[in-house]
């Protein structure tokens, strides 16, 4: 394949890309008591720059109350063969407003500008969907997992947009027996997509209630899709090992059938793969034990809300949002991960209440790894309602972004002492940073055909 489209010819080429100099993270005011729009922050991550480790631009959304959450590119390495495509637009859905903001990051990468807003009311009216979450490009088009119908009931479905960001309709032909939606990742050479389960918007919006897990209002299954037929064909019932299965990631190697899911409440990593007979299998490969808390009657689960696989498929990173640690596992043998690094930051166990001079409110939550696997940027806010439940002091202190230096050759991770972005000191008051993406592609966006 000759050059020209966005992204890289292969994961190996992506690893050799130039170092990132900017990153984008969303920052929210929704739920904080400050009636200002959520915004996309540009953070300077070039250590040679005089504004290194600072927010250098803020793009405010047109209205308040979106609750920006996850993001995604209009194009990734799945379009590498298409010279007509470029990674120009970042899509920022609002979980509460259902508005999808299309942001042009290419005209001036330091100062992104709003290109278009797909109105939430139009999405609800045309597709009967609400609660946008994960954005992936599909070749030239885009699908977004939507966690509810227009009334906030599960299972929702998938919103399909064309390359002009117009609503095509529902992407899936059927949701089968799927009860809930959340994250998804596809691996085209195996004609497969995996999707996971959180809960209906009407369940997670009011806050997390343990009793509702018992009432089966939160997910515990993974779903395997026939990607071309756009319908689920098989499900894994994970049971107690897989309560709240959230993020799903395949290996970046497009030939691999191995993938992983972090079950947030069980705080387990589930590994899946296709065996020699062509049958999909799963197993639990990491189990983070609940920890006692001096003042709590119930031991604290880790709450593994995110996982990430390095571009070379050698390391898996995970967080324990309530415990307060980030971990690195060597997954060279995906059946038997080996813990190779751990860093404490914030959390409820009191191991690292202050990091680089900033008092932490929250624990490690979302993270993005550099393409070369050496720098992991970590933020602390999860979802405004849940932040307010578990870390009420985040209202006054805001979110924080830190950087962890990772050793991709021998394993190991250490907190970088020079880098910290304190969103508690933002001009309009404490905001909360969440997911991060790099302009040139990153470890949670790119898929190869």
């Amino acid at each position: 394949m000759e050059c020209c489209g966005p992204g890289f010819a292969s994961p190996a080429d992506a690893i050799k890309a130039p170092r990132e100099t900017l990153l984008y993270t969303i920052a929210i005011y929704t739920g904080t008591g400050i009636q200002k729009p959520d915004y996309l922050a540009t953070v300077d991550v070039d250590p040679e720059s005089p504004t290194y480790s600072q927010v250098i631009h803020r793009l405010e959304m047109p209205g308040i109350g979106d609750e920006l959450h996850h993001m995604g590119w209009n194009a990734c390495s799945s379009c590498f063969g298409d010279a007509g495509m470029s990674r120009k637009y970042l899509l920022l859905p609002g979980v509460r407003s259902n508005n999808i903001h299309v942001v042009d990051t290419a005209t001036d990468p330091r100062a992104p500008r709003l290109h278009k807003v797909i109105e939430g009311a139009e999405i609800r009216a045309k597709t009967d969907l609400s609660g946008p979450h994960t954005v992936h490009c599909l070749g030239s088009e885009i699908i977004i997992s939507m966690l509810g119908d227009a009334k906030g009931e599960a299972p929702g479905g998938y919103l399909h947009l064309n390359d002009e960001f117009e609503i095509v309709g529902r992407w899936e032909n059927s949701m089968g027996d799927i009860k809930f939606g959340y994250d998804f990742w596809y691996q085209p050479r195996h004609n497969v997509m995996f999707s996971s389960e959180w809960a209906a918007p009407n369940t997670f919006m009011p806050g997390f209630d343990l009793e509702e897990v018992g009432h089966l209002k939160y997910g515990r299954e993974l779903h395997i899709w026939d990607f071309e037929r756009r319908e689920p064909v098989e499900s894994f019932y994970l049971g107690e090992d897989g309560l709240l299965p959230l993020e799903v990631k395949f290996h970046h190697d497009p030939d691999s059938s191995h993938g992983f899911c972090g079950a947030a409440l069980s705080s387990n990593v589930i590994h899946w793969w296709k065996d020699d007979a062509g049958k999909w299998r799963w197993e639990k490969v990491i189990d983070v034990e609940n920890e006692p808390h001096p003042e709590w009657p119930i031991p604290v689960p880790g709450v593994m809300s995110a996982i990430l696989v390095s571009m070379d498929d050698k390391y898996l990173y995970l967080n324990n949002w309530l415990h307060g640690d980030m971990r690195q596992y060597d997954i060279s043998d995906p059946h038997a991960p080996v813990l190779t690094g751990q860093v404490w930051m914030g959390g409820l166990l009191g191991k690292a209440p202050e990091v680089n001079g900033v008092k932490m409110a929250g624990g490690p939550q979302m993270f993005q790894l550099s393409l070369d696997g050496r720098r992991l940027y970590v933020t602390t806010s999860l979802f405004s309602t849940w932040d307010n439940q578990f870390y009420p002091e985040i209202r006054e202190r805001g979110g924080v972004m830190v950087m962890i230096d990772c050793d991709p050759l021998h394993g190991g991770m250490t907190l970088n002492p020079e880098f910290v972005v304190d969103f508690g000191r933002e001009p309009n008051g404490p905001s909360r940073c969440h997911e991060a993406r790099y302009p040139g592609g990153d470890c949670t966006s790119d898929i190869w055909l």
């Binding site: 929704t30 739920g31 904080t32 008591g33 009636q35 308040i64 109350g65 979106d66 609750e67 609002g94 979980v95 509460r96 407003s97 259902n98 939430g120 609800r124 609400s130 509810g148 009334k151 906030g152 918007p201 009407n202 919006m205 009011p206 806050g207 997390f208 209630d209 343990l210 009793e211 009432h215 808390h293 003042e295 709590w296 009657p297 119930i298 031991p299 604290v300 689960p301 405004s384 309602t385 307010n388 439940q389 578990f390 009420p392 209202r395």
Partner: protein, 126 residues
């Protein structure tokens, strides 16, 4: 026909009072009169605009975000709630103290568990 209006008192805004019409959601009426209020979805689905009703009655049948515990604690969703009498409200996130609870730190009280309706599970059957 005369338009029905009611009086809204904001207990945590120095008891400021506002006249509002009965047929419109409280969020709209109060924001138009300059009250600084949070909101998100504007269709009763996301809890962002929750306020605490301490006196009076509202019709909030269109809300879908509050659970039983929150309703029993007096919370109303202003973007869809319409007044049915004079009402007193505590507004903004400073009224959200009882809206959120940490389920590991404060397991539900027995009376809360009753509200969670164990019968529903039995009735759901096999």
């Amino acid at each position: 026909m005369a338009v029905t209006t009611y009086r809204v008192t904001l207990a945590n805004r120095e008891n400021a009072t506002f006249e509002v019409v009965a047929r419109r959601p409280l969020l709209e009426s109060l924001r138009e009169q300059g009250v600084d209020l949070p909101y998100g979805c504007k269709y009763g689905g996301c809890i962002t605009c929750a306020a605490k009703l301490t006196a009076g009655i509202v019709d909030q049948r269109r809300q879908v975000a509050l659970n039983k515990r929150q309703i029993n604690a007096g919370y109303v969703i202003l973007c869809v709630a319409r007044p049915m009498s004079d009402v007193t409200l505590e507004i903004g996130v400073d009224s959200h103290g009882a809206l959120y609870r940490n389920p590991f730190l404060d397991p539900l009280e027995p009376h809360d568990l009753r509200q969670a309706s164990p019968h529903q599970r039995l009735d759901d059957g096999p």
